[in-house]
Symmetry: C2
C-alpha cells in the first residue's frame, strides 16, 4: 500500500537483488525509516526487537533470513532455521514458513540452495499478498452493498490488521483499501486499542498514509457510535479461529461484538487460512490467553512537543495492573468470516464448506 | 476517607474556622497538596481550573464560596452567586447549591448572613456526605451477600465515582469502602477510563490511599474478565437517570453493561437523588451527549522517570479523533439502582416506589 504516494510492501528485496529491506516498525508512526538486512542474524534481530512484527509478515521475513543464510553458508541450513525459529517461539506462521523453507532446501546440494531459497521466500511473500488481496476482494462486496444503500460506508475496526502486519493489503483493512481505491467513500473508526495502542498508532498511520478518511476513538466509544447509527459494519482480524467459529483476537474485540449484536450492526472477521485451528472447538475453554506485562498498562511512550520520545506513567503510583492480551468472541456474535476462499458463516458447517480438507 | 492513614474530606474548614481547604485535584495522583481558599474569587477559580471537580463536590465548594463572600461583603450576595454560578454553567448541583444558599440568605439582614452562610454550606456538605453514606450502606448489603457465598468480592467499576468527586465516601465506591472497612475482602478492577483516565488516575489513587486492593485494567479487558468469572458485580456511578431508568454515564459504561448481561454478572448503578431527571424518559433519544476536544484522545500527560510531567502524543500524527464523553445504558441492562433511600429496579415503577414526590 502507499505511504504518502509511494507504494510500499512491508518486506522487499533491495535494488541489488539480494539484501532485504523492511520498515522499522518500532519507529512508526513517528518516523518512516527503512532497514537493510544483509545477514540471517540481522533478520533474526529485527524479529526479536519487533522492528518487524505481525504473524504473516514475520514468516516472510524469516524465510528471507534463510535465503540470506544460504547466500553465505548454504551448508548450515538447520542452524539458520533454528536461530530464526527461536526469535518468537509461539508464532505459528514463523514455524510454518521455516518448515516450508526446510522442506524445499534440504534435498538440494548446497550450491543450489541460495537461488531456491530466494525463490521460495518470494513465493511465501507472494502467497501472503494473494491471500490478503483475496480477503479484500471478498470483503469489498460487503462494503459495495452498503455503499449502494448509504453512500459513505462507516467501518469500525479494532487493533491493527493492516498491511504492516502482513506483506501487503492486510486482512481486516484489505477490503477497506480496495473499496477506497475503487472510489467508494469510506470512513473508518479506529479503536485506539489499549494498552499497546496498535489502532491509534499503526492502523491510523496506515490509513492516513494511504489517504483513507478515518478518526481515532477511545475503545470505550464504539458502543455509543453504534447506538447512534454511526457504524455500518465492524471488520476485525483474528489470531485464531476454532472449528466452530469462535474467534480469538486482541482484547476488547468481544465488547465490540456484543455492541454490534445489540445494535444490529454486522460483525465480520477477516480470517486467512493460517489462523484456522480445527484442533480446537470451544474457544473460551480451549484458547489460552496471554497475560502480558503490567507496564504496558501503566506506562506509555510518545513524542513531546519537541518531538522527543518520552515514556510517562499513566496510572496512579503504587497501583498494579492486569493485562490480558486477547479475548474470545463466541461464534454466535460473529456475522461471518471473510477468507481468501470467500465468505462463510462462523460455524463448523460454514468453515467446512470452504476448507473441507481441514476437517 | 483516608489518604495513607490520615482521614480527609474533599472540602473542609481550616483550623481558623473560616478559610476553606480543598485538595488540589489537578495534582492528583502525582502529589497530594491542599489549597487554602480565603475569598469567593479563589473558590471560583478552583472550580474553573478543576482543582476541585465532581458534581456534588463543586456544589459544596460553591456554597462555601458564598460564605467567604458574605464574610467580607454581605450586601453583595447576588454578585457572588452570579460569579460562582458562571464557573461551570452546565453543572446541575452547582446551580442547585447556589439557589439553596440564595433562598436561605436573601431574607436575612447583611450582618446575619455570614454565620448563616457557613451553617448552610456545612449543611449542604453534610447532606452530600449522608447521601453517599446511605448509598454505601444499601450497596454494602449486595457485597455482603456475595462475600458470604464467595469470600472475596470482585467488583468492576468504571470512571471515578469516589469520594474525590463528592464530599466523602463517593457514590459507586461508597459500598466498596464500607465493605473494606467492615473487614470484607474486596478486590476492585479499575477501568482505566480513556480518554481522561479518571479510573487509572483518581479511582486507583483513592483505593490505594485508603488501602483497598485493586488493579487497573484497560477498558478493553472487562468483558474477558467477566467471561472468566473474575467479576462478581459491576457498580458504576451516573450523571443522569431518566424516569424509566436509562442511565447516562462516562463513555464505555454501556459496553460493560452489555458484557455483564451476557455473562450473568449483576450491573448496579449508584444514583444519588440529584441525578434523577424525571423530565426525561428515553435516555438514548433525549440525553444530549457532550463531544469533547480531540486532544483528550490524541495526547496524554504523566510523569517521566524523573517525575517531570510531560505531555506526549499517543496517536499517529495527522490523524484526527472523535471524543464522545458519555453514553447511555438502557434500563434493560441495569440490574438495579442503589440510592440513599434503598435499592430499586431501573424502571419507572422502581423509581416511583422510592421517589413518589418526583413523579
Amino acid at each position: 500500500m502507499k505511504i504518502h504516494g509511494r507504494t510500499y510492501r512491508s518486506v522487499w528485496l533491495d535494488e541489488d537483488g539480494w539484501a532485504v529491506r523492511i520498515l522499522d516498525q518500532t519507529l512508526l508512526p513517528w518516523r518512516v525509516e527503512e532497514l537493510r538486512l544483509e545477514t540471517a542474524e540481522q533478520a533474526a534481530r529485527a524479529i526479536v526487537t519487533m522492528q518487524t512484527r505481525g504473524a504473516p509478515l514475520i514468516g516472510a521475513v524469516a524465510a528471507y533470513g534463510v535465503a540470506l543464510a544460504m547466500r553465505s553458508r548454504p551448508e548450515a541450513l538447520a542452524e539458520a532455521v533454528a536461530m530464526l525459529g527461536a526469535t518468537r517461539p509461539t508464532a505459528v506462521n514463523l514455524r510454518w514458513a521455516l518448515e516450508r523453507m526446510t522442506a524445499r532446501l534440504t534435498p538440494l546440494p548446497p550450491e543450489a540452495r541460495a537461488a531456491a531459497a530466494y525463490a521460495e521466500a518470494a513465493a511465501i511473500a507472494e502467497d501472503d499478498v494473494e491471500t490478503c488481496r483475496r480477503i479484500g476482494r471478498h470483503g469489498l462486496a460487503l462494503l459495495e452493498e452498503i455503499a449502494a444503500r448509504k453512500g459513505c460506508v462507516k467501518v469500525l475496526t479494532h487493533c491493527n490488521a493492516g498491511w504492516l502486519a502482513t506483506v501487503d493489503y492486510g486482512t481486516a483493512l484489505s477490503p477497506i483499501y480496495q473499496a477506497h481505491d475503487a472510489g467508494i467513500a469510506v470512513h473508518v473508526w479506529v479503536d485506539e486499542t489499549r494498552p499497546r495502542n496498535q489502532g491509534a498508532l499503526l492502523t491510523a498511520f496506515e490509513l492516513g498514509a494511504h489517504g483513507v478518511p478515518h478518526a481515532v476513538v477511545a475503545d470505550n466509544a464504539g458502543g455509543h457510535l453504534m447506538q447512534r447509527g454511526e457504524v455500518d459494519i465492524v471488520i476485525v482480524g483474528t489470531d485464531r479461529v476454532t472449528r466452530r467459529g469462535d474467534v480469538a483476537n486482541k482484547i476488547g474485540t468481544y465488547l465490540k461484538a456484543l455492541a454490534a449484536a445489540d445494535n444490529g450492526v454486522p460483525f465480520w472477521v477477516a480470517m486467512p487460512h493460517s489462523t484456522l485451528d480445527t484442533r480446537l472447538t470451544d474457544g473460551l475453554a480451549e484458547i489460552p490467553i496471554e497475560e502480558r506485562a503490567a507496564e504496558e498498562v501503566t506506562h506509555l511512550t510518545g513524542p513531546d512537543a519537541e518531538g522527543t520520545l518520552r515514556r510517562v506513567q499513566v496510572t496512579a503510583p503504587g497501583s498494579g495492573a492486569a493485562n490480558p492480551a486477547f479475548d474470545v468472541t463466541p461464534a454466535r456474535l460473529v456475522t461471518g468470516l471473510i477468507t481468501e476462499r470467500g465468505r462463510c458463516a462462523a460455524s463448523e458447517e460454514g468453515l467446512r464448506s470452504l476448507y473441507p480438507e481441514r476437517f
